[in-house]
């Protein structure tokens, strides 16, 4: 973790933040050029040249401390603080413009990379800073970034979903090939693509298929709401292997057989979401994560759970943004000769936001801490998700309600939080803690 902290300190020092605002918002033309159909080829992949380590490297589980404790470790507190500063000083001020532009400024993404989010989850042997699993730390960082802006946080964290997946389930070759790139200054644009454009989408039964062919697989299907889709160089794609079950595949961008369509949504717009169509994309036999069919499906299932937890963390962060925003608003806003916070119907709404927000946080942290300790957490993840879907959206709705007509306009951020919080429960994949 030491290396990650060094990076963070550099950021907290201020030089990076000062760079912000210098660059103009660079809108990616594609989002305005290709809103209909899969008109644009995927980005060309860089050539990934890693070394091949001896055997896959996994981060060990965190030891069971035996005591109930809600205090983050010193390292976690420092990271949380740095992420919070980045969120307050860089993400929040950029959020409204990024939402309008449907893209995140490259400078912001570079800065997020320098935060060292990805390298914290990469073992030291592979050039990262990780010494043990860091699910809780990842939750705390995601929460802090989403307090700034959920869309930008999504854009910033998306590549780490791929590196985390490779650390968790990749073999030596996959890790050696791809992970070193994530520790470099210009790390690859990467995305975890699970979701598909269908009602009642069940991630365990994706329509995207992986068919075994001579010496590899061919992938066909459509993935939706992929973050930074147009510039993605590396993907982990969920696909069904007939007779074996769903699995994750490492896919390098292939402009000839992957086509992109813009997929701007209700919220999360800064993440430049897109659909990707895979037309018999050929990947090597080694592209599947997991040594056997059973291991691959187990990895896939865990990936779905950890991804849902990541979205819970996002809900907690944005929910906190709502709470922090409405408190001064209802205290300042006057009606009938006194602050509206003097009315129980207003004050109780604020109280309930706080109560349910803490519920969301605690259930999410519990599932994350079980996960990093290597204990079963399927039930706990489901519980956290249920609360974050229901209460997170309620908080988004109450946030707008408390501001009344103001809340409905773009003058205030609550309408964006309302749109972003609807993503919880809809999104599968994209993030991984």
């Amino acid at each position: 973790m030491a290396r990650g902290l060094r990076v963070l300190n550099r950021l907290a020092g201020g030089t990076l933040l000062d760079r912000l605002g210098v660059r103009k918002q660079s809108e990616r033309a594609i989002y305005h050029a290709s809103r209909t159909g899969f008109g644009v080829a995927a980005a060309a992949a860089r050539s990934f040249k890693g070394s091949k380590p001896n055997g896959a490297k996994r981060l060990p589980n965190v030891g069971d401390p035996g005591l109930f404790d809600l205090t983050p470790s010193e390292d976690q507190a420092m990271l949380q603080d740095a992420a919070q500063r980045f969120a307050d000083e860089a993400l929040r001020p950029a959020a409204a413009d990024a939402n309008e532009a449907s893209t995140a400024d490259q400078a912001l993404l570079d800065m997020a990379n320098e935060l060292g989010i990805a390298i914290l989850g990469i073992p030291e042997e592979l050039g990262g800073a990780g010494t043990e699993r860091s699910t809780v730390t990842n939750v705390l960082v995601a929460e802090a970034l989403a307090h700034g802006d959920m869309g930008l946080a999504f854009a910033c964290l998306a590549p780490s979903a791929v590196s985390n997946a490779l650390v968790l389930w990749g073999n030596a070759e996959q890790q050696g090939t791809y992970l070193p790139a994530f520790t470099e200054e210009s790390s690859p644009v990467a995305a975890l693509a699970l979701a598909e454009p269908t009602p009642l989408f069940d991630p365990m039964t994706p329509a995207t298929t992986a068919t075994p062919v001579d010496g590899g697989w061919t992938l066909s299907g459509i993935k939706s709401l992929v973050p930074n889709a147009a510039s993605c160089e590396l993907l982990i794609v969920g696909a069904m292997v007939e007779g074996e079950g769903p699995a994750l595949f490492v896919v390098e961008s292939d402009p000839a057989r992957m086509k992109i369509a813009a997929d701007p949504a209700m919220g999360l717009r800064a993440a430049a979401t897109g659909q990707i169509r895979f037309d018999e994309v050929v990947v090597p036999a080694s592209a599947r994560l997991g040594a056997s069919a059973e291991a691959a499906t187990a990895a896939y299932r865990e990936c779905v759970r950890l991804s849902r937890l990541a979205w819970c963390a996002m809900a907690a962060g944005t929910g906190k943004a709502v709470l922090d925003y409405v408190i001064p608003y209802v205290n300042d806003r006057q009606a009938f000769g006194e602050p509206i916070s003097h009315r129980q119907s207003v004050a109780f709404m604020v109280a309930n936001i706080a109560i349910e927000l803490e519920s969301m946080r605690l259930t999410t942290l519990r599932a994350a801490s079980l996960a990093e300790q290597g204990k079963p957490y399927a039930r706990e993840a489901a519980i956290a998700r249920r609360l974050c879907v229901d209460k997170g959206m309620q908080i988004g709705s109450d946030g707008v309600q408390l501001l009344g007509g103001h809340g409905f306009t773009k003058e205030y951020p609550v309408e964006r939080w309302y749109r972003d919080l609807r993503a919880i429960g809809v999104m599968e994949g994209g993030l991984l803690v």
């Binding site: 809600l70 109560i355 605690l362 259930t363 801490s369 229901d390």
Partner: protein
């Protein structure tokens, strides 16, 4: 390091409390629901056992363990607030009313544990203490208490009327809230330990109730009741600055316990419902979308989510008390969430189980009656929300009424 599991060192206590709860409380649950006001004699044996558990390192299943130790040590503590709450969960999984009837584990004992000085703690130790706050004209608005205490030499003379005193008839002592000066308001309200049998302290009646029937709920009158001055708990001076803090401090420690009661009760209903649903062929798949499960399974997971949220909020509040962090906000959040979750869950369980849930052949209907009091006593849902809102918004009780 962040970890939200039940501490390993308390797993033995939890297992023991669960066993006792199953064999004694759950086993007698229906019996004393039907025989309202009958004394549950099975508890006498049990109380001795709980005393023993308390003496063995302050990790009791009762209410007497919630005292804040003074120490400069800042390392993470899992202490008696947490262990007591965990014990209470197990006991209320068995029966809430019977836990409330547990000798020497009354809310008055919590008040004594929270605010008594060492001499008082010694003097009242080992005795059963009930708590008398509510009056016919004041419930949540405890600042409006009309019972008066007038200093007369070495005694206070108490006059007034008290209702809804849990275990009031069975307890040895009653902690009575009274005002030294009605014109001063909250700051003048003090708590007095009144011994049963004190002249002028008379039982008026026992209430008949919706639920927790095994717990007696008494009404008293105090007519020129003389109480020794040294029975006043806490500071005797009327300090307008400090206000209500003295007596209200008790609640920071007891609200997590009442939340724990709600959590234990909710868990009983959830477990029973799960087994009935599974017998009926309902499958609960935690990985599956709510929209792709049966409505019953989706509803079940929703109930579990509220249950877990309440449980973790409660553990947070108790843990903060153990670590001597101010926890009024968290205690009220836990009580609010647990109170409403418990009512919602037990009522939903009856609905999910249909006629099986509604008949006296199972305990589900009883739990759905017992639950309602948990969203009322020790501060109603609305009072908890007021407390939470005032703290978050920085408002006084005069501003946010």
């Amino acid at each position: 390091m962040i970890n939200l599991e039940v501490p390993k060192k308390f797993t033995g206590l939890v297992r023991q409390a669960h066993q006792v709860s199953k064999e004694v409380l759950r086993a007698n649950s229906r019996k004393y629901d039907l025989a309202e006001h009958a004394y549950p004699k099975e508890l006498d044996m049990l109380a001795a056992l709980v005393d023993g558990m308390n003496d063995g390192g302050g990790q009791g299943a009762g209410a007497a363990g919630v005292r804040r130790d003074k120490s400069d040590d800042t390392s993470n503590k899992n202490g008696s607030n947490l262990s007591t709450a965990l014990g209470v969960i197990e006991m209320c999984w068995g029966d809430v009313g019977l836990l409330l009837s547990m000798p020497r584990q009354g809310l008055g004992n919590s008040a004594i544990a929270s605010v008594a000085d060492d001499e008082q703690l010694e003097r009242f130790g080992g005795r059963w203490a009930a708590m008398a706050i509510t009056e016919p004209g004041c419930g949540s608005d405890s600042a409006a208490i009309r019972t008066t205490a007038v200093k007369d030499g070495d005694h206070y003379i108490l006059n007034g009327e008290k209702i809804y005193v849990t275990a009031g008839d069975r307890a040895d002592l009653v902690v009575v809230w009274a005002t030294l000066d009605k014109s001063v308001g909250r700051a003048a309200i003090k708590s007095f330990v009144v011994e049963k049998g004190t002249p002028g302290f008379e039982l008026v009646r026992l209430e008949k109730k919706l639920g927790i029937k095994s717990s007696d709920t008494a009404a008293f009158v105090l007519k020129d009741c003389r109480v020794p001055a040294e029975n006043l708990l806490g500071d005797a001076t009327v300090n307008v600055e400090k206000g209500f803090a003295g007596v209200m401090q008790t609640f920071d420690n007891t609200r997590p316990l009442v939340a724990a009661m709600a959590i234990g009760l909710a868990r009983a209903a959830i477990e029973q419902t799960r087994s009935l649903l599974e017998e009926a062929g309902v499958e609960i798949d935690y990985d599956q979308l709510a929209t792709k499960q049966t409505a019953a399974a989706a509803e079940f997971i929703r109930m579990e989510a509220d249950y877990e949220a309440a449980r973790l909020l409660m553990m947070e509040a108790a843990w903060m008390a153990d670590n001597r962090k101010p926890n009024s906000l968290q205690a009220s959040m836990a009580k609010a969430k647990a109170g409403r979750a418990c009512v919602d869950i037990t009522l939903k369980c009856v609905e999910l189980c249909g006629n099986l849930g509604y008949t006296e052949n199972s305990l589900l209907e009883k739990w759905a009656r017992d639950s309602k009091i948990l969203d009322i006593f020790e501060g109603t849902q609305q009072i908890q929300q007021l407390i939470v809102a005032r703290r978050l918004l920085g408002k006084s009780s005069a501003e946010l009424k």
